[in-house]
Amino acid sequence: MAPALPAAVRFSGVSRSFGDVRAIDRVSFDVADGEFFALLGPSGSGKTTCLRLIAGFEQPDAGTIEIYGESVAGVPPYERNVNTVFQDYALFPHMTVAENVEYGLMIRKVPPAERRRRAGEMLEMVKLAGLGDRRPIQLSGGQRQRVALARALINRPRVLLLDEPLGALDLKLREQMQVELKGLQRQVGITFIYVTHDQGEALSMSDRLIVFDHGRIEQIGPPAEIYERPATTFVAGFVGVSNVVDAELARRLTGTAQAFSIRPERIRLVEDAAPIGDGALSAKGVIVAAVYLGAATRYTVQLAAGGQLLVLEQSGGEAGPARATGEPARLTWLRRHHQPLR
């Protein structure tokens, strides 16, 4: 039996402060070899600091970081087998696209002929064949993004770090690049660690993700688990839209004072007389806002028991008639869709 590969990246109790600010606070996690791993959180939550610690631009104040089983304490960035795609792409403006892509090979003294051949292959892989002689300034944002990717991948790193790589692109291009990046990762089989503040991006692309807040890990897991089973109030609110029901309201609705969250799409609007099945709960209220979203309509319902719940009703099919603000409403949902919060 082959020995199990060590984790691509392992954080053990890592802390890093900047002045009085704890950027990350005793953070521990493992990234498996070949995984597409996302670090998700609002700005200032510590996700970029984690990435910079792996790249070697920062050193931890406490704790250890291992890359493929080897501690990287005191190892400068230029001696680490990881490469980074920067948020602003960081392309060298005084070099052509091809020179940018070849940079890592040139530094490693790879002969010019092989350099050119491999840069050509890379540019082809990111669909920029023939643009090698341009300057970065002559390229569009999406093209620059691809150059940055080619420049990082040409060194065949064991881990590729991506710092909000799609943040500067417009929506359409971003969605297209999400698909391409994911495909590229499968093709090259390199571990990707991907920093983003966009929960949709993290959910759609990653194998597993971490949700950060204030320098601490809120939850680690695969996207479906993070979405379906948010462990904390923060995760429930940050990843997707969720109703957070505090202990007091929970007692009035369910009889138990256990705070929980429930997704708006899990709640249905039903007729007053409709029977409520086993394991289901119901509540009455008044619709205070109705927002038509195209594929669905989002209602805000003021509950008679106090508090508000968001309800997402898909358009067409089983959906009843559109309801207006001010109408009374009866809600029902299944108890098993409660996600208890700590």
Binding site: G56, P77, T84, A90, H94, I107, N155
Partner: protein, 319 residues
Amino acid sequence: MNPVAPSTLPVGPEASRSPLHRLSTVLYLRPTLLLMLLLGPPLLWLGVIYLGALAALLVQSFFYIDDYSGVVVRRLSLATYGELLTAANLDIVVRTTVMASAVTVAAALLAFPLAYFMVRRASLRLKAILYLGVVLPLWSSYLVRVYSWKLILAKEGIVTWLAERLGLGWLLEAVLALPGVGGPSLSTAYLGTFLVFLYMWLPFMVLPIVAALERVPRSLLEASADLGARPAQTFRRVIAPLVVPGVVAGSIFTFSLTLGDYIIPGIIGGSQPFIGQAVYQHQGTAGNIPLAAALTVVPIAIMAVYLTMARRLGAFEAL
């Protein structure tokens, strides 16, 4: 009930009743007219006073002086340029150019580490203090500073005193004994002239390099390290090429200021003149305006050659 009151601003022809309003409207609708009004004065200034004077100078340099009467002959000729090529005048040109080059190179070598520290390492507060330290000398009188240097560098001055106190009097003696740059004391040696030029023009080198370094984002340096470059390689491949335009801008100042100055070498240094002093003598006491003009064309020609070379070497590609 409407909580938002309707606008009371006049709309349509009513709005253009006041002359000021009408003027705004005219300029808003005709941006070219506005541009011409704004650019007219500076363009006139540049065109007439700068380029016009320069053209007059160039024309003067093609006149020549009649050896017997001492009167300027207003006929185009290369006679004055021929005079420029005499040994004495060539000597002046070479001396000045070598001095200007030495001052420029030394200023760049001193300014770069300082600028780098200011931009990449210093705290905001320290950076402000250093900025002030660099530009503060420019606020005080140029002449006072030159004469202060005369005292500092004199045989009885603080440099000699300090060298002797430190037991380095022999070193100062040895330096002053160097042929060409030495002399009886620093204040009468070309080395002294060099030091004062360097002191005077250093801010003009520091500031453009600081500006150039500030335009290099930190992420470029990180990207270079990330791709395997050691700091020395990052310096050579990324920082240096991106900062060259700043160094060239600074060297234009240090080089041309040294080429044109006539006060510093007149107060500190040896007895042989620099271009500035020669121009001053020819256009003043000697009344040889054509030769003064031809001597002035020399720095212009040198700068033109220098900038062409810099461009050929790709100094401006990063701009």
